[in-house]
Each structure stands twice: as structure tokens, then as C-alpha cells.
Symmetry: C2
Subunit: 361 residues, 2 copies
């Protein structure tokens, strides 16, 4: 990668110029030249912001909730960076675009920065890129960073995992039953919000989520004598299991199931308070440090694999060589796996050579 | 990787024993020991089957269409392998599970093999795994392989790209407007099916898709004099543009927009016929060979990157070393990128050593 002179950009970022921020985010988002240098230069400045993931099915009102939460924090004097990850879906894109435009209209406030990220491009790289954009916002000095993703795929769950607190937004009509929620979602949720709580079925949904949480806690604590023989099949038992689990471990976090009607601003203050409580729990229990160290670890893994791929494929000769192998692959004379092994053989000297060039001796 | 004796399994596969097929698919699906060897052993036998991708939004009736199509092909004496990729969504899983169970009830016929694949696990690896499972089915001797995916994410589009023919299924209620369909979908669709065609809005949807195709072809052929100054803003113009484009290039494929009511079996024979026409087009134009070579190329890329990751991370000492770097990362004294570079430095000798061990000299 060609070295890029980032000094002017870094100076403008330090002076908190919004145009510099937008440019820095674009460089990182698109992995442009200088992206890794920029992230390295900003690394020591990041780590101050709280990162909140907001995920849920299409139409759950995530954007509205995000906007309301951001407005509340602004009233409290906090600055807010928002990374809204557009759905990967080629089917549901339209409806969300409207939300996005409405959201961007609040961006006249310099204390709010919003970036919508498309999900085209390298699969699996989306969570990494979102994390890196959040790092830029963090280093710039935002107090809160909201990562808003539509919960349609594994990659969105991966993004949610990069947050300090993950909020899962549900609506009464989002499914016939809470049974449609798979395990992955329960694992990442630190807080649930049943939005559009003025609609029929909202109370039932809240109860179902609570029951499910109770069942999960029942499983977690299944070896605890107090739960032996308990039938965890109804709401009161679920609540009892949760109460018992809190008794068993005072430092355990039980995801609250909040109600909100974001369009009217109802339940937003309660969500903000619950997020504060969750952050206090994270700090107190050591979970915050643990999550942040895991995030740093993932950053290294991402960077290492990206570097390795760049070294493997960054040479036109390798691509050309692969083309020459296609006839043998097509006839069945050679297998893809054997060809892959040959490719690595072929490239290994170059990989090592490059590595030694960087640190001779 | 420890060598595994696959001879008994390969013999059972050659004898077309269903239990052996199920086992082989499981080994490949879960990347168990012997997976690469197995695929290599089967490689020369694959390449005979036609692969059909069926994708679309949740609730479009893909499973029903898949089942009907499979039944039709069975009547024609063809064997059919089906790989149904479960949605990544933690929100919509429930509804599809029902379809899946219904589908599996047809699996009493030994001429049909169905495997539902979960999307948990390595991101980005899903398309690769689906392709490999399809290779096993292909080598086993199935005439047709259907890759059914719910079109909610990039990975599903990637899966569709591994097929010879991609069918995109839409329903009148799948969106307020065809505008919700993003570019990626138009790129992969070889055939469109408007399912539930007896519902209101089906004709309008077909017209909208045709218009969109017309616009696309208008763009493709924008340098052709016949299209100069043409306003591509209504249905008849769209059709004219399509007709003109076919005139311009007799070997061009225009995706047909079919109507079907899969639940009643209507439109299924027409789909099968259109698929035959598409396959003939692929064979005649050379596109089939091109697609299959691209698929082989991707198999090599996948295998190479998987090998590289295994070599990088397959050593507990590397993981342990990374843990020792977390303090410096946390304090900001070291950046993830610099740590990644150090990690590759550290591993490079081992990478090369392993490579040389395999082919000395």
C-alpha cells in the first residue's frame, strides 16, 4: 500500500472539523489508501465512547427509536454518532430508505453525525468495517455511538456483538410468536424493547419474551438446587426463575423487556435509563473490559486475514496462473483443493519475502 | 489434518447407497475431517447435473415451488437433489420451518434428496459450503440440483450465483413497488416467477418487472443507434426495447417473467420449460462453460483462503501470543494493524515450513 500523508487530515480531525470527519469515515468505510494508517493513528484516542447496537426486524421502528434516543442524549449535552447499516436485502431496501432520509434531516445538528453504510462488498467484512467506522467516531470524540442494523442476517448479529450494549427491538406484528426468534438473538440482547406498544399484542409479546428469558435463565441455572424439578412453562414461573437467578448471582444482568412507542417518544427516557444501568453493570462486573478486549482481538484477526489475502491475491501473476489451471480443473484432472495447495506453494516465497522486507533480520 | 480412510464411504457412494450420501453431505457441510479429501475424490465425477437457484423474499412460496418442480422432474424420470438454505434471520425462522417439514415429507422418494442447511457458522463460508454440498449431490448422480435460499442477504445472492440458472420468485405482496428490488437481484435473475399469481397486483408486478428489465436492457444497449432518443418509461416501450435487444443480439437471454400459483401447481410446467430453454441458451452461447469455470475458480479461491486461515490459526501458540498483546492494544501503546503485521511475521516461517513439508524440493 502506498504511504499517504495523513497529517493534514489528522490535524483537521483534532480540530474537530466536520468535513474531516466525513472524509475520514469514507476512507475507512471504503478501505481506501491510508485506511489502516488512519485507524492506527486514531487508535490511542478511541475507547471513550459508549457503543449501543440497535437491531430488529424490518419495520420495527429502529430508525425512529434511534432518532429519539439521539435527541434525548443531545438534550443531556451528549454528542451522538450513528452508523446505520443498510439492509443487505435486495427486497426490503425501499422502505428503509425513507427512514434514512428522515433521519438525515436531523443531521443539521453538529453534535450528531450519521453515516449510512451499504452492505455491498466483501461479505464478512461488514462487521469489521462497522467496528472501524465506530472507532473513527469514537476517536473524534462522540460520547455515544449507535450502531443501527436491520436484523436479517448473521452479519447484523456480528455487528451487534461489537457494541457495549445491544438493544433488540420487536413489534407485535413482527412474528406470529416469539418462537420465531432464534437463539442467536437471545444471546446478543442486553435489552429488549417492544416498540409500537400501543398496538394489540404488545403485552403478550412482552410476556413471551420474559418467559423465554426465564427459560434461558432456567437453563443457565439448571444445576442450582433451587431450580430442581421446577416446571418452567408459564409466566409466573419464568419470573420466579429470573428472581431466583438474580438472587443466586447479584452481579448477573437480566435483560429488561421495555415497552415503547417511539413515534410518540414514549419509553425512550426509560430506554436511556436502562442503558445507563446496563453500562454501570458492565463497568462493575468487568464485562465492559472483557467485551472491549474481545473487540480489539477481533480487530487484529480481521487485519491479519485482510493482510494475508492482500498478499495472496495482490499479484496479477497469481491470478493469471490460476487461469491456466482451469482446463485441468474442468477436465477433472486436477481438484480445487490440490490447486489451492499448489497456489499456496507458489505464493509462499513471496509471502515470506514481503514479510522479511518489512522487518529485516 | 489427519488422513481419513474414505475408501468404504466412496465405495458406498459409488453403489448409490442413500445412507452414504447423507453421511458424505454431513461431512462436507460441517467441514469434518476428510471433507477436502472427499471433495477431491468426487471432483472428477461432478459436472453433469444442472443447478438451479431459487431465491426470493420470505413467504414468496419458494419451498412450494421447489417441491412442485421436483415432483414434475420426478415424473419425467429425473432425480433431484435439493439444498435448502435456512434463512440467516433470527426473526423469520419459524414460518419457514413449517415449509421445510412439509418438504421433507416428500423425501420418501429415493429419487429426491433434501438437505436443509443452517446458516450459523463461518460467515462468507456459506456460499462455499453450499457449492460443495451441491458438488457431492452432483457426483452422486442427481440430474437436477435445486439450491433454495431465502433472499435476505448478500450470502444468499452469492449462493444463487453458483447456480447455472437463477430463478427469482416474487409475490404481489412482497413489496409496495418493484423499486424495492435492488440491483443485485436484477443481476442474478435468469428467470422471474411472480407466484401467487391469482392474487390482486400480480399483473402489475409482472409489468413492473418487465419494465425494469426493459430499462436495464435499454442501458445495456444504450450505444446501439436503434435506441437513441427512446423514452423507456412505459410498458410497451420496455417490451419494444427488449424485442430490439433480441434483434440486435440473437444470442442474448432476456429473463422471462412467468406467472405461477405454485400451491395449485399452476405455472410449474412453464417454469420447467423455461429452465430448459435457459439451459439450451447457456450451452449454445458458451455461458454454461464460462459459469462453470468461474465456479471452479471460486472453489480454488475458497480452498486457498481456508487453508491459509487454518495455517495461521491452527496453532495454539499463536492464539496464546495474541492474548499477551491485549494489554498493549488496550492501553493504545500498540495498534491492531501493527499487531496483525507482527502476527504474520511471527507465523510466516511456520507457513512456509508447512508448505515445504508437503512438497519437498
Amino acid at each position: 500500500m502506498t504511504p499517504v500523508d495523513l497529517a493534514p487530515l489528522l490535524a483537521d480531525l483534532a480540530a474537530r472539523k466536520p468535513a474531516a470527519l466525513a472524509r475520514a469515515v469514507s476512507i475507512v468505510e471504503n478501505h481506501r489508501a491510508g485506511s489502516d494508517q488512519l485507524l492506527s493513528a486514531l487508535h490511542a484516542k478511541a475507547g471513550r465512547a459508549r457503543r449501543i447496537g440497535i437491531t430488529g426486524p424490518p419495520g420495527a421502528g429502529k430508525s425512529t427509536l434511534t432518532m429519539r434516543l439521539a435527541a434525548l442524549w443531545r438534550e443531556q449535552g451528549r454528542t451522538v454518532g450513528i452508523v446505520a447499516v443498510d439492509p443487505t436485502s435486495p427486497f426490503t431496501g425501499g422502505a428503509l430508505l425513507g427512514d434514512r432520509i428522515r433521519m438525515e434531516s436531523v443531521a443539521l445538528d453538529p453534535g450528531i453525525f450519521i453515516r449510512s453504510m451499504a452492505t455491498r462488498g466483501a461479505l464478512g467484512g461488514l462487521a469489521a468495517t462497522t467496528r472501524e467506522v465506530a472507532d473513527v467516531l469514537d476517536a473524534y470524540g462522540f460520547d455515544r455511538i449507535i450502531l443501527e442494523t436491520v436484523g436479517v442476517g448473521q452479519s447484523e448479529l456480528d455487528i451487534a456483538r461489537t457494541a457495549d450494549s445491544s438493544v433488540v427491538v420487536l413489534v407485535p406484528e413482527s412474528g406470529d410468536s416469539i418462537q420465531t426468534m432464534k437463539a442467536g438473538l437471545m444471546e446478543i440482547a442486553d435489552l429488549f424493547v417492544v416498540n409500537k406498544a400501543d398496538r394489540p399484542g404488545a403485552d403478550r409479546l412482552r410476556n413471551e419474551v420474559e418467559l423465554m428469558l426465564g427459560l434461558r435463565l432456567g437453563q443457565v441455572y439448571k444445576n442450582v438446587p433451587a431450580h430442581h424439578g421446577v416446571d418452567l412453562s408459564n409466566k409466573s414461573v419464568a419470573r420466579a426463575a429470573r428472581a431466583a437467578s438474580q438472587e443466586v448471582d447479584g452481579d448477573h444482568w437480566t435483560p429488561p423487556v421495555l415497552a415503547a412507542t417511539a413515534s410518540k417518544g414514549e419509553g425512550v427516557a426509560e430506554l436511556a435509563t436502562a442503558l445507563d444501568r446496563h453500562f454501570e453493570y458492565l463497568a462493575r462486573s468487568g464485562a465492559l473490559r472483557e467485551r472491549r478486549r474481545a473487540r480489539l482481538r477481533e480487530r487484529v484477526v480481521d487485519a491479519a486475514e485482510r493482510l494475508l489475502r492482500a498478499r495472496l491475491w495482490g499479484d496479477a501473476a497469481t491470478e493469471a496462473w490460476l487461469e491456466t489451471q482451469l482446463d485441468a480443473l474442468e477436465s477433472g484432472a486436477r481438484t480445487p483443493f490440490a490447486t489451492a495447495e499448489a497456489l499456496l506453494e507458489r505464493s509462499s516465497a513471496r509471502l515470506v519475502q514481503r514479510a522479511s522486507e518489512r522487518s529485516p533480520g
